[in-house]
Symmetry: D2
Subunit: 357 residues, 4 copies
């Protein structure tokens, strides 16, 4: 058991605070012999990096990852892979004002209720900065899954503005600063978020994930279900408040007939006529795409003052002036992909361990 | 690691198939000295038991639990508590017809894809029958939490019919066969489900959970978050496709101002002006009620034939004639409560272990 | 984490007290498709069963195991295997006298110091009776290892009387009541133990274990070492006070030259000129036989009165009159074999999971 | 589960190879509010550091530890503590000759059998260099245990030369380069090891550990026994081949009367007349000193050529010329202490979690 590790055979341990010298993680259990250098990880970190458009925080972090162990001559050795990212843009002064008061919607108050003290600089351990390590681990997980498995994500809603699913184009995702698969929605979000930013407010979002090429049989009854592990992994991302697999909450309104994914054989392969299940039945992958969605609350750091209290129990009003994402949901896309990749890699190894397949 | 265990310090391992001689579980890590007999568990099993109204399966199971270890003279000893429930109503003939074909929406096909074989009798390990053990474990978890913590659940939607939240009355929940907190909705559901049943169809549902009196500080960064563990636990219940904490998916549409729960001090205690967070910030409990919701898909066993395949790969049509719940979401209410209680009990012990509080 | 489980991919959870209705265990993670019935387990339980000679306790237990889950039509399904053994010879009156005082050398006092209460009947959870479940789990582990792996044990010392290693004959082990591989030592032990028994005293013992046919590569750096896991597993058997791998404590007196096992190739296979390492280098199996030894202290239940205290803190003298093994080390042989088999099975699956071999 | 982590509530994950840029570890689960800076750790690392006498390797490593996370203003925050030590004296050329052949007694061959490749520089992951992280983690564990618990170790045998237990003086341990508690033995060992070193040979050793002030109640039945966890932890140290608790292997030769530790009350406290048990009964601490011993094999790196094979399967002869400890057992003393401290800290938190004491 560990509070800061996840996975079992493919296991990630992370450490570090927003304003310490560095953050890092250890990926243990990676199969040996996989080609791995920093160049395999950096592109994923770059996708998550802040400051790439006016819609994310202007904090500048190089987020350059170093591999400190676990590889030799460019191949994984099967021993733990230590990943380290320097913190290069820590302006502790930004946070001095909030050291003695709790920011609403943040973990300031709960860390202190739990531990009796906290590192107030940039949210300390609860900072979204930690998600860089998840993304780095996810890049390693992708290597474990191999080229036949493709893990992708996209933003499908910002604030009240959802995309038009009929216009979905995966190719579009890399062509706008929102990871938006619907070109028609991009200008709507631009205008909306500019207004939100101007008002010192923030917006929530919904992210969709999909993994294609996942072999059937991953997952396990009953407390190692693939979808349950995925739900835990996604809900554990900062600011996430909801998770769906396949049809999700909409399944509640479907009839049994609408919900049943019919099966047939085509060219000797099992195929399904629909995918309400999201690629998972009884906690085990079917071979269809794994589909999931998760909801991110609006950034808690806003300019509008909100009632709060100080550490000594006096009334206070908190308005957060630092450099913040108006919509943290945008940068949650690569984080969600990474968590999905890690869960799949872990279950791939677990399945192979038990069944030999 | 284990595929059939959950929790860490308060840890539950379950075993058994729908049509084996019995099902059971082991609760390990329970604190010593708690008064515990079968009478503390049975009422919760009775709430989940089938056959109590025309809206649940007519299968008759006594679901009488026996404690085989871990107590002495009516007190827990700190050693593992073995729980056993005999299977008394196994009509294997009901299932003979489906041994060689895969029921759509069921785990038949994935168990076989994973393991190469399966126990087809009543769904084997994937049967919802296993949830009885979760409920039994949840009853023990409630003792660990103590009387100050109250864990409750209610059904808030069947098919497309949601309750009116303004009419919420916890007292009503025990007065109708749906665990419905809104008396005005009960006749709507009765009529709707009678029609569904008559048509041989099925309906989905949404369940709401609430835990009051939870002390602040439970949960842990970053991969032991209270809400993440809860999401995994709820998504792991049979047929669940979505989980929300607090405002859930609706949070995506809120502004930062709407989403921020303001804090103040009242009589020396920290209070919040709202609870969009669902009682959890940064993965750690705030002291507010823990609130969660989860969606259950419509029962996959329906009379309407759905296209499927046989084990040997031939086209087949499956209509399930056995005794099934038209809406498995109803009996998921006590199961959801149990999972919430288990997650809280585990985190209570984990928090005490690390911090001594 | 769990206090009553061991192993990771091949994981055993045990429960039960000496004088409860039954004891049992759950074997989780077993590969699917292995032929398994009670008949595969019972012979190993019979080897451990008391009352088979005048040198073990005269308590009579059928130790008949039942499989309650995890198999279908004689094959493992990959789901948890529940094992149950009824307690049929609980004479609680035997233990009434010691309910209020602590037996020296027993866990009576420590259970009460830890938990504040204990089940005094027959030692409760700390009874050696629990080792029956280890033996049953070990029988399943042997199936996982397959016929190419042979796990054997023998008694090599009782009290001060060690066997002559030069006379080792594995065939002899099944021909005497001591699991003794040296026929010349059998009469020595008979005479010695008869005298010990007559005096109401007890004797310690040393057991040697060997596993042949273990594939190379099992185990893992650095905290999943095969020999470290084995040492933990053997030290966890009741009354064990020492564990050795390969040359063990004698290695301390060897020179580097004496200790180095030379390597060469024979017929394309790697062979070693000696096995001081006990088949493990760097925590990973070499392909040589795994060899280990463990020491069992003399049975703590003796007729000679020993100074002790009562639960209320008064001086007391304890002489144990019940039916006890004069040398618990004898019946520890099948238990040690079982633990070795379980550790190997777990590492076989773990190795396969990570490396795919 | 993880191959490179140990402990449960107090959990240590280590990473790094002998000749990578650095080695490190993560201590997770540490209670909050403990004063901790590098100065609390460094003295223990200095005790283990090589090159401090002619009896250890002349490799020069500063072994300066840095804390990268988990503390704020000199106090632990309850979040993961990242520890990093730079590798400053990596002479890879020393090891070039052995990259293509397996050193007898080393893990070269098993790493390659397991993973299909290995990092040959200095033994890679299997290097004793990793034990620095254990020592650093042990220093943190000591803070968790508090000043009332004292964890100490001493060397009691080198090669065939054991100390005279009657002359034991803990104060002497810090006054000689061997951690020897018997001043009379120091010159014997000096002369012996000088001869061993001159011959290019090596020697084994036995280390004794003792923890005073350990509260009763730590440990758990049946697979979380304090002595079993300790045995696993000690056997997991590089080159260890045997572990004993209390009387250890000598217990096999004792009579029941000799082995029983009598109990009595003195000034309201439970006391034992002897400590054959080594402070543990039924896997749970009694309140007496925890005593353990472990045996270290002679250093495998010796000048005398030993038969071996190359990676391509040809016969080879290996003599290791690098800078090596003639007796690795010496520097194993602080490592053993650290492992004992870590096991105790973990069980302290586990006990508190379950029982609230």
């Amino acid at each position: 058991m560990s509070h800061n590790s996840f996975g079992h055979l493919f296991r990630v341990t992370s450490w570090g605070e927003s304003h310490g010298p560095s953050i890092g993680g250890v990926v243990d259990g990676c199969p040996p012999g996989l080609p791995l250098t920093e160049a395999d990880i950096q592109p994923f970190l770059d996708r998550r990096r802040p400051g790439q458009s006016r819609f994310t925080t202007q904090r500048q972090e190089a987020d350059a990852v170093r591999i400190l162990s676990g590889t030799y001559e460019g191949l994984t050795t099967g021993t733990p892979i230590s990943l380290l990212i320097e913190n290069t843009d820590q302006r502790s002064r930004d946070y001095g004002a909030i050291a003695d008061r709790y920011r609403p919607g943040h973990a300031d108050v709960t860390y202190e209720l739990k531990y009796g003290l906290r590192d107030p600089r940039g949210g300390g351990r609860s900072s979204a900065r930690e998600t860089a390590i998840r993304v780095a681990a996810g890049a390693v997980a992708r290597l474990v899954l191999g080229a036949a498995v493709q893990v992708r994500g996209a933003l499908v809603q910002i604030g009240p503005h959802a995309i038009d699913l009929a216009r979905w184009d995966w190719g579009e995702v890399t062509r706008n600063p929102f990871f938006c698969p619907d070109p028609g929605t991009v200008p709507v979000w631009e205008e909306y978020l500019d207004r939100v930013r101007k008002n010192g407010s923030s917006a929530g979002a919904i992210i969709a994930l999909q993994a294609d090429g996942v072999p059937p049989g991953l997952g396990a009854p009953l407390y190692g279900k693939l979808d349950a592990d995925l739900a835990g992994a996604l809900m554990g991302i900062n600011a996430v408040k909801g998770v769906e697999i396949g049809a999700g909450f909409a399944a509640a309104s479907l009839s049994g007939e609408e919900n049943a994914d019919p099966m047939s054989m085509q060219d000797g392969h099992l195929v399904f006529g629909s995918n309400q299940a999201g690629g998972v039945l009884g906690g085990i992958s079917t071979g269809q795409p794994i589909t999931a969605r998760f909801a991110v609350k609006p950034t808690s750091s806003i300019l509008t003052p909100v009632a709060s209290v100080t550490r000594s129990g006096e009334a206070a009003s908190v308005a957060t002036k630092g450099r913040h994402d108006p919509c943290v949901g945008i940068r949650a896309v690569p984080v969600g992909e990474a968590m999905l990749a890690c869960v799949l890699a872990d279950h791939l190894l677990r399945h192979r361990g038990q069944t030999g397949r």
